[in-house]
């Protein structure tokens, strides 16, 4: 008896540049994105060889009026790219920003009307993480048995993390879709 074992189709382990893969999936998705959640202690402008820059991410958010929730550490001058990225993100009316100094988790969620995908992994949303660090991540697709996993992650990112003490609201979303 020879039984093939493989990951279910709703899971994908990404051993190479997982955060960049998520960004590419977000940018290239032909489906209408309803919500984007970015949970990353540090966020950069994603220049210098990263195939999807922060400016491209913001451009899509603004163009398609995607409700976006960003939770990160308060940027310090030790990370000038983080400061720049937060300045850029704050310009968008469709982005809510919260700072949480205890944040260490890295979760990225893209919810479309009839599906979506999420990345749970080790990588920050920075060029250093993407270009120079060894990171790993798991992508969960919102389909089949992946739906409860995706829902649980979404609930964590959209509700629990935003409503814990220490997640301080820095900027509200201001424009309707």
């Amino acid at each position: 008896m020879n039984i093939e074992t493989r990951l279910p189709s709703y899971l994908e382990i990404v051993p190479d540049k997982p955060v960049e893969r998520f960004l590419r999936m977000f940018i290239l998705s032909s489906k209408m994105v309803e919500e984007l959640v970015i949970v990353s202690p540090i966020i950069g402008m994603l220049r210098g060889g990263v195939s999807v820059s922060m400016n491209r991410v913001i451009e899509r958010i603004n163009k398609e009026r995607i409700k976006t929730y960003v939770i990160t550490n308060e940027p310090s001058h030790d990370h000038p790219s983080h400061v720049q990225a937060m300045t850029a993100l704050k310009q968008s009316n469709f982005i809510e920003i919260r700072y949480n100094e205890s944040l260490h988790a890295k979760v990225y969620i893209c919810r479309t009307r009839d599906g979506g995908f999420a990345l749970l992994g080790s990588g920050n949303l920075t060029e250093t993480s993407i270009q120079r660090r060894i990171e790993i991540g798991m992508i969960i697709f919102r389909r089949g048995n992946g739906i409860p996993l995706f829902q649980e992650l979404s609930k964590w990112g959209l509700e629990r993390l935003r409503s814990v003490r220490g997640s301080i609201l820095i900027k509200r979303m201001t424009l309707r879709r």
């Binding site: 829902q151 609930k155 814990v164």
Partner: protein, 385 residues
């Protein structure tokens, strides 16, 4: 104080309902008493004739289709109708179909959701309750190969797993088929072969005091099938499941479609419609009126708020709010209902719950004990705008 205490939530950490995360959430079906009655009536009737329910529910995204499936399953488990004289064996499955998915893929998903362990227990249960196992199996399964496969579920070594794989539709090698004493792979002679397995397992369930009912979500995935042969194979599988003679494997399928004409093509075909019956195509629409929306929110709050804790808080802090609408003040509550009812297509449970959650998070951010009109204006325009 955390978010849960701040809003006096009753043994829950948020206003969101998701039975896939918290199974107790299945009990809730707010603001739709008439629709619930209609659904329960069709369920009840299904157990009388043809013996199991065969129902399609459809509606837009966020209309509450998944909640409906879980709530109906909860109803059968906790307050079963008299027409259901056996214990329901509930199987939830969210379908996943690709362009070349066929009846084998569908069957495999149903069988995996049903589970080898549960079926093996049924086989053991039958064995312990009959004098002649062969005769008993022949009365449940008409097919020689299915009988042998089911029998092998009680075997030793690797035989049960092989037998399960055959029943689930995996292709086995000639050697493995020989060891199981089977003449062919399951599915070799089409979708009917697989449906026979499912219907037979339904009869096996009955012998164990169970009624097998599949609750299939995301059935709009059938639209992904583009290969014509695959489409016809799945259609054939559905047609045979829908046959009147299937009285043992019930199903309730939920489908994204705004009207019954918009359903995946195979479901709106005449042969399927005739078998299922127009009355069993049930729409889950948006909440139709502002009064329904008001009822929905009232019922949600009355279930999710710890009344005693909220009453104490209102008194101690002298809050300008009544227990009925807490944590919204009366004006904010009405404004929220107005926003939700402005565009009938957006008066969806998902949007209403989202707006309540976001209003609560906004009040929490501002350390406000009560959700006021200012917060609702800001949030509801984002959600319903």
């Amino acid at each position: 104080m955390d978010f849960k205490e701040w809003f006096c939530l009753n043994e829950r950490d948020s206003f969101t309902i998701d039975p896939q995360i918290n199974s107790e959430d299945a009990q809730f079906y707010f603001g739709r008493a008439t629709k619930l009655k209609e659904l329960q009536t069709q369920l009840r009737k299904g157990f009388i004739d043809p013996g199991v329910p065969k129902i399609f529910i459809y509606g837009s995204y966020g209309s509450g289709k998944t909640q409906t499936l879980y709530n109906l399953a909860y109803y059968l488990q906790h307050d079963p109708p008299k027409s259901l004289q056996l214990k329901p064996a509930i199987v939830h499955v969210a379908l996943e179909m690709q362009s070349k998915s066929d009846h084998l893929d569908w069957h495999l998903q149903l069988m995996e959701a049903l589970g080898k362990e549960r079926v093996s227990q049924w086989v053991d249960g039958l064995f312990n309750n009959v004098h002649n196992m062969d005769e008993a199996l022949e009365s449940l399964f008409s097919d020689y190969n299915i009988i042998n496969a089911v029998k092998n579920l009680r075997g030793g070594g690797e035989m049960p797993l092989l037998a399960w794989r055959w029943l689930a539709g995996h292709r086995l090698s000639a050697g493995d088929l020989q060891r199981l004493q089977l003449t062919r792979n399951s599915g070799d002679i089409g979708a009917g072969d697989m449906v026979k397995v499912l219907i037979g397992l339904g009869h096996l369930a009955e012998k164990n005091g169970n009624k097998l009912i599949f609750f299939m979500d995301e059935v709009e995935q059938f639209r992904n099938i583009s290969n014509p042969d695959c489409f016809e194979a799945v259609h054939n599988y559905l047609r045979q499941l829908a046959e009147q003679k299937n009285s043992s494997a019930g199903f309730i399928m939920s489908i994204f479609a705004l009207t019954d004409d918009e359903m995946p093509q195979m479901m709106s075909r005449g042969d399927i419609k005739n078998r299922i019956g127009a009355i069993n195509y049930i729409e889950i629409p948006p909440l139709p009126s502002v009064e329904d929306i008001r009822t929905f929110i009232y019922e949600l709050l009355s279930n999710f708020i710890d009344r005693k804790a909220a009453e104490d808080k209102i008194q101690q802090q002298g809050l300008a709010v009544t227990l009925d609408t807490y944590p919204f003040d009366a004006d904010a509550f009405e404004v929220l209902c107005d926003y939700a009812s402005q565009d009938p297509t957006k008066a969806l449970p998902r949007n209403i719950i989202k707006s309540i959650t976001e209003c609560a998070i906004s009040a929490w951010d501002g350390e406000k004990a009560v959700i006021d009109v200012e917060i609702v204006n800001e949030i509801a325009s984002l959600v319903f705008g």
